[in-house]
Symmetry: C3
Subunit: 126 residues, 3 copies
Amino acid sequence: MNYIHLVALLAVLQLFLFGILVGRARAKYGVKAPAVNGNENFERAFRVQMNTLEQLVAFLPALFIAGQYWSKALVAAIGLIYLIGRFVYWRSYLADPSKRKTGFLLTVIPTFILLASGLIGALIHH
Amino acid sequence: MNYIHLVALLAVLQLFLFGILVGRARAKYGVKAPAVNGNENFERAFRVQMNTLEQLVAFLPALFIAGQYWSKALVAAIGLIYLIGRFVYWRSYLADPSKRKTGFLLTVIPTFILLASGLIGALIHH
Amino acid sequence: MNYIHLVALLAVLQLFLFGILVGRARAKYGVKAPAVNGNENFERAFRVQMNTLEQLVAFLPALFIAGQYWSKALVAAIGLIYLIGRFVYWRSYLADPSKRKTGFLLTVIPTFILLASGLIGALIHH
């Protein structure tokens, strides 16, 4: 099994899932495209998707690059924390946006560790 | 020729193109930065770009990973459907956002096939 | 040192930095999640982050693919211009959105050169 690829694709599927939930929120709360405001519950679902997009663009390169220098199993395990953190973020943001911090940190910290590991790897590589 | 790289770069160029069209819509409909609302036609162009951004972040890793396990020509051919689907999406969204579904599915289904192929590849890899 | 990886990770860190600045602007200007409008200064910081996200999604694949066909040091040097251009973009957008053009071009042109180099590389590859 290629753990790095598995985690990367699961993170992409997670973004897809959040996108589907935005589509459903659009229908449920009557927010017609191209509008993205007008209903607080829709906006919460939409912001979860957009924030996940931002995080994923940082997470994927960090995951791949860190995986080229360090133990792939360890790198993938750190990536798993990101995946769980995103689910926590989603649940807490939908319940109450002011409580999104824990899930946010559970995503940002793993990504940051991967970024730092990748940077060290790239610097000492010869 | 590296078909995977070609399709990947064409998909990136397509996002660039949609971004240029947003810039032109900004000028044409008098929507001054940082605003992203206020004119329905501008909002349509903007949502096409944003949705393409979301799709591309899923498409590119799926394309690259699937291409490492399966026939590169076949994977690139599926990627071509994504490219065409995005153009269909763009044209139909600008004409009438409620008709965006066909183009949307023509993007999402190829990406989903690549995601599934990549997942299977990563799982059976040893 | 792997220059391509270094530039890629620095570009990701830059997106992170802009994200942190959006979080601070949220607090400073009293824009509560999930809202992303209502204060011009917040909207500027937010648009810098979103535009950087769009650019990064184009820049990273272009950087990686160009780096597989051409001198990695040269490709990374072009990437450095992107990094500097994004900082110029950020500073000028926050000061006055109508002055964002120089920084914008300093990002778009390097990315475009990398895209074109990657396309040529992928086409002549055998």
